[in-house]
Amino acid sequence: MNRTDPLRTPMEAAAMTTPLPDVPLLDVRGLSIALPPGADRPLAVDNLSFTLNPDEILCVVGESGSGKSMTAHAMMGLLPAPHVRVAGGSLRFKGKDVLTMPEAEQRSLRGGRIAMVFQEPMTALNPLMRVGRQIAESLREHTDLPAPARRARVVELLGQVGLPNPAELADAYPFRLSGGQRQRVMIAMALACQPDILIADEPTTALDVTTQKQILDLIRSIQAERHMGMMFITHDFGVVAEIAHRVAVMRHGKLVEYGPAAEVLNRPQHPYTRQLIASVPHYIEHRDDHAKQGAPLLVADKVRKVFHVGGGLFRKSKQVVAGDDLTLTIHPGETVGLVGESGSGKSTLGRSIVGLIKPDSGRILFEGTDLLALDRQGFRPYRRAVQMVFQDPYASLNPRHRVGDIVAQGPVAFGEDRTKALARARELLAMVGLDGSAADRFPHEFSGGQRQRIGIARALAMEPKLLVADEPVSALDVSVQGQVLELLDDIRRRLNLAMLFITHDLRVAAQVCDTIAVMRRGRIVEMGTAREVFTHPRDDYTRSLLDAIPGKGWRIPDDLQPVRAGAH
């Protein structure tokens, strides 16, 4: 049986997991979506076929630009017409083609029978409307419930998605809720009309790992309870392993592999699926303990930073403790991972070390000199020694400067000859795996991964002793992520660099770090060698973080491990 054939009959696939239904809930056949002329490819989605049955979670996996969200948007009528349109194929819901239905019928289907949860809970809710009213909207649109009954139903729904005090919460504005709570509200909204199909487009990508686990648990239990068919779009194989019944892998708009979850995850056939799975960072494999060399390079001693938020002439500002009693040591050649969820203060510490933030108290000793006691002029020499790699490859390079210039600017600022600095920039660009012509081009001509390489070259141009990498791979696709991590590791080894690696992803930390410091609410709750922290976590929070890693019950197939070591 050829599993890479997208036109394999849906019945065969369905038979493996669920009882055979007469008509599939959703039957997508030969769907093609055309992009406007001048786009990087003519079709966003190319001849895509799959089915979705009741009581089933179908995970659609792919990297950015694979067309996975386009498919969902086509179903919901959200394609940015007239630029992007369906060019062919059919989308049958219980046997009826959604694409040829009259507009009114499509509308009643969407939000009623088919509901969608979006990726970004921060922007998917109307900030000026109470959440209860937002949920009631779709009830008003799709049912004839009277107002009091709608209200009761809203409260009931908010309770079902596990929100505390649902009656009170219905009257709250979105800004009062956390990201996880907003995503729960989004789910409640999607469930309002008891849909047959729930489409979730990366619903946990913007969330912290512990919140992600809660939302995944919620989605799974709600799906099972209501026997819904669910299309879950994600880029994370950990999440796939966690919830999928069946998996469809997409690449460049084409379906490359399609089958039951256990098959695809454990016996992937298509080379692309194999490559994707091989580049999933996996937390089990951590490296040998690092032998500490000599005196510590950097010591952060009881660093404290409080941010004052808001406030004005007549209002008191709110205090946010971003860092408290932060103590941390980095030895030459050592990679220390600073791990924590958003708002835990990990970036604050990183930025304090490179001198972008001035802590309120404490000391940061670099080779014995307290950096915080130095004035601007005194600090300048240390700028060279401590360099930073930034998170966002799109924002961290000046769009108006040529790449060679960007890399050479630092040394030039320190008085180096411009021609020499540019020549060195070319060498560095070659070192991070870009070809010589890169120096003469502008940042927008490069992909995210390549830009991150440029950012690394810029940091290396200063010949630093310590590299602070603030979430350097979190904006990249998994396959690119692996390459950038390998590059960082390789450079670190070759130049005997010490590195402070800031990340929210424990799996990534496990891959590159010798020592791990776990941060929570501005404090380091646990610090130890990677082996200790991952195998014998002492702190409850560390344990809950490890526990929340999606797909930890799944082991990457053994035959894929070698692919990973030799990957690019």
Partner: protein, 280 residues
């Protein structure tokens, strides 16, 4: 930014191209004024109160027999000169203050913004009238007065741009690689904040021309320079007998301001492509 991309985006806006054509014509008129209309525009050229299309005066003559067409051509020089120089001066003040306020933030920002608000609370035109009246009207004082009343919006714009760009990672990277504040402001942030500034500067040239015309209309123009505003002001008492004396300089003002606005809008489309696309 690629030059050809810029022109293609600019040319897509038909109004902007029309505006550019009108503007070039006006600049040409100003440049060749002495060649087309030799002699002093203040000199009597023909009989007073000649209607348009008469023998010696294409657009008629005024109460003292001065050629209206010659006045408009020479007035174009004054208007463009004042529009451009006062905008340049306003840019220098506004962008410098806005950049400093936005880049440094905190107390410096507070101080500069309070200072800016001080100017914004006084009506533009009244302040300009007062300034010109105090310092006796001349080209220099008029340019200075217009610059002084029109820099605050530019300062606010530059400040907003700098505030948001300052937190961008490429600026932070420049800080961590030890670049000086001056380098960061001039090389890193300024080039990225120029687009909206250029757009509003192009519109400001139009406003400056209007301001100058208004001042001249009130008799606060440079007494040695022929200007459109002066011509209208002088002709207002006889507007019922001799419409042409005020209509033609008026048309010149309208066309120039319209052209500048069209060009400004085209620049906006070309430099801020995201906004242009959303407009459809």
């Amino acid at each position: 930014m690629m030059k050809s991309d810029f022109w293609r985006a600019f040319a897509r806006n038909k109004g902007a191209v029309l505006g550019l054509v009108i503007l070039i014509a006006i600049v040409a008129l100003a440049a060749f004024a002495s060649f087309l209309f030799p002699g002093d525009p203040w000199e009597m050229a023909t009989a007073p109160f000649q209607p348009p299309l008469s023998e010696d005066a294409l657009l008629g003559s005024d109460m003292l027999g001065r050629d209206i067409a010659s006045g408009i051509a020479h007035g174009a020089r004054v208007s463009l000169l004042i529009g451009l120089t006062s905008t340049a001066a306003a840019l220098a003040i506004g962008v410098t203050l806005g950049a400093l306020a936005g880049f440094h933030g905190g107390r410096i920002d507070d101080a500069i913004m309070r200072f800016t608000e001080l100017f914004q609370t006084i009506p533009n035109f009244v302040l300009a009238v007062v300034l010109v009246a105090i310092f006796t009207p001349s080209l220099t004082t008029i340019v200075a007065a217009i610059a002084i009343v029109s820099w605050p919006p530019l300062a606010r714009l530059a400040r907003a741009e700098f505030l948001s760009l300052r937190t961008r990672e490429f600026v932070q990277a420049a800080i961590t690689t030890g670049q000086s504040n001056t380098t960061i402001i001039l090389r890193q942030i300024l080039p990225n904040s120029l687009s909206p500034i250029i757009v509003s500067a192009s519109l400001m040239v139009a406003t400056a021309i209007l301001l100058e015309s208004s001042l001249s209309f009130l008799g606060l123009g440079d007494p040695n320079a022929m200007s459109w505003g002066y011509m209208i002001g002088a002709a207002r008492t006889v507007i019922r007998q001799a419409w042409w004396m005020s209509v033609f300089p008026g048309l010149a003002i309208v066309l120039t301001v319209l052209a500048l606005n069209l060009v400004g809008e085209g620049l906006n489309d070309a430099l801020n492509p995201k906004l242009a696309r959303s407009r459809g």
